[in-house]
Symmetry: C2
C-alpha cells in the first residue's frame, strides 16, 4: 500500500524548463488523494528557490517544502551536526548556504564547483579534512557534458581529497541510502510505504531498491531501451510519470 | 654478489644542498671497484641537470647518466611509445620535457603541477584520457609539507582522473616495479645483483624487496626509529651510506 510518492524532476516532470506531458495531472492525482510527495534531485547548481521557480513556471503545483535536493541534504547534515562549512560549490548554489556560519570552518562541503576548483581551494579543503573535518559531497558523479564538451563533475575531486586524507566522504543525493532515509523521515513513512518514479536506472531505481522502496522507471528523459535490465530485480517500466502514478495509486 | 648499487639522493647523499658525511667516500669506494651506480629519486620538481648541479656543488663525483628520476622515467616511457604528451607538471620540470613534440597530444603526463592545477588544465587532461590517452603519473604521493604547510601532491589528482575515466595510471618512480626494471635494464644487471640504499622504508626498502634487490636502510634523512619493522623481512639498518657501502661491497 503506497502512502507517499517521490519524483525525480529532470526527465520525469520537466524536460529542461518544459513540462513533460501528463506531469501536471500526475501531481494533481497524488494531491487529490492527500498523499505526501517529495521531488528529489541531485542538482549541483540549483537552489530550492530556483527549482521552485522553474516548477511554478511549468505550472506544477508544488511547494518549497516538497522539494528535496542533494545540496539541501548537505545543508541539513551541516545543521544537524552543528558544523561550520567551508563550501567549495558552484557559485549558483552559494545562496543555499549563505545563512550558515562559515567562519573558522570545521567541515568541508564539496560540489560541482567548476571554475572555483583550483590548487588554492583544493588545498584549503584538504588541510581542513586532514585535521579531521568531515567531507560532505554533493553528489559523486564522474563528469557531465555541456555544449558538446566533457567537464569533470564533483566526484573526481571528492576522490582526490579522500585519497589525500585517507577518509570517506559523506555523499548526499541519490542513490545514497542516507539521503533516502532523510527524505523518508521528513514524510514520516517507512521505505515500503513509498515509491520513487525516475528516469535514471542507477540513481533512481537502484537507489529505491537499495532503500527498500517500490519504483517505476519512465521512458522519458534519459531512459534508453534496455535500461530496466541493468538492475535486479528488473525495473518496472512505464511510458511516463502519469502512467506510473496511475499504476501505483489508482 | 653485488655488481651494482642504487642510491636514493635526499637523506642518503644530500641533506638539502649539503653533503651527508661519508657520502663522497661511499661513492668513491664503489667507483674504485668499477661497479655501475644509479642515483634514483622521485623528485617532481627537479630536472636531471638541476640535480647534477646540486651533486657537483656538494663535490659528489657523479655523471648525468648516473642519475635516474621519476620525470626521466616518464619521458622514457613517452619516447619508447612514441607519444605526444600534454604535460601537467611543475614549471621547474618543463625543460625536461621541452624537446618532446607536445602538439595534438595523445598522452597525459601528470606531476606535482602545484598552481598549474585548475579546472581548465584538469579538464584538458581528463578529456584526453577519456578518449583513450594513457595517463603517466610522476609519482603518486598524497601530500607534502613546505614551510610548515600541507600541500596536495600529484597522487590525489591522478586519483581524480583515474576515477573520472575508469582507468589506471602508469606510475613512474619508486617503489614502482616498472621503474626499477627500467633502471636495472640501463645497468644491464639482474635484480639480485643490485642493492639499493635508502632512507625511505616504503619507497626504497619495500620497493627494493618487491623488485628482488638487496637493500640497506640508513639512519640519516627521514629515518625514524622502528622504520625497519614496517617491512617484511625486516630491513637491515646501518648508520649511513658509507657503512652501507662497506657492508655491501667490502
Amino acid at each position: 500500500m503506497i502512502k507517499g510518492l517521490f519524483f525525480d524532476i529532470s526527465g520525469v516532470l520537466l524536460d529542461g524548463p518544459n513540462l513533460i506531458a501528463g506531469a501536471d495531472k500526475a501531481i494533481e492525482l497524488v494531491k487529490q488523494k492527500n498523499l505526501p510527495i517529495r521531488l528529489l534531485t541531485n542538482t549541483s547548481q540549483q537552489t530550492c528557490d530556483t527549482l521552485l521557480g522553474q516548477l511554478n513556471n511549468a505550472r506544477l503545483g508544488v511547494t518549497k517544502d516538497e522539494i528535496y535536493t542533494a545540496p539541501l541534504a548537505a545543508k541539513d547534515y551541516i545543521q544537524t551536526h552543528d558544523l561550520r562549512p567551508y563550501c567549495l560549490i558552484h557559485p549558483n548554489l552559494v545562496p543555499e548556504f549563505a545563512a550558515l556560519d562559515q567562519n573558522n570552518p570545521n567541515a568541508v562541503v564539496i560540489g560541482d564547483a567548476a571554475d572555483d576548483f583550483n590548487y588554492q581551494t583544493l588545498n584549503k579543503a584538504f588541510r581542513l579534512c586532514i585535521e579531521g573535518a568531515p567531507l560532505i559531497a554533493i553528489g559523486h558523479n564522474k563528469y557531465f557534458k555541456k555544449s558538446g564538451e566533457f567537464f569533470l563533475d564533483a566526484g573526481p575531486f571528492v576522490e582526490a581529497i579522500e585519497y589525500a586524507c585517507d577518509i570517506k566522504a559523506i555523499i548526499t543525493g541519490k542513490p545514497s541510502l542516507d539521503f533516502f532515509n532523510q527524505v523518508l523521515l521528513s514524510v514520516e513513512l517507512k521505505a515500503d510505504e513509498v515509491a520513487l518514479i525516475g528516469d535514471d536506472v542507477y540513481g533512481d531505481i537502484y537507489g529505491a531498491q537499495s532503500a527498500g522502496m517500490d519504483s517505476r522507471l519512465v521512458r522519458t528523459g534519459k531512459y534508453r531501451e534496455g535500461d530496466e535490465n541493468k538492475v535486479s530485480p528488473t525495473a518496472i517500466v512505464v511510458d511516463d510519470v502519469l502512467q506510473a502514478v496511475e499504476d501505483l495509486i489508482a
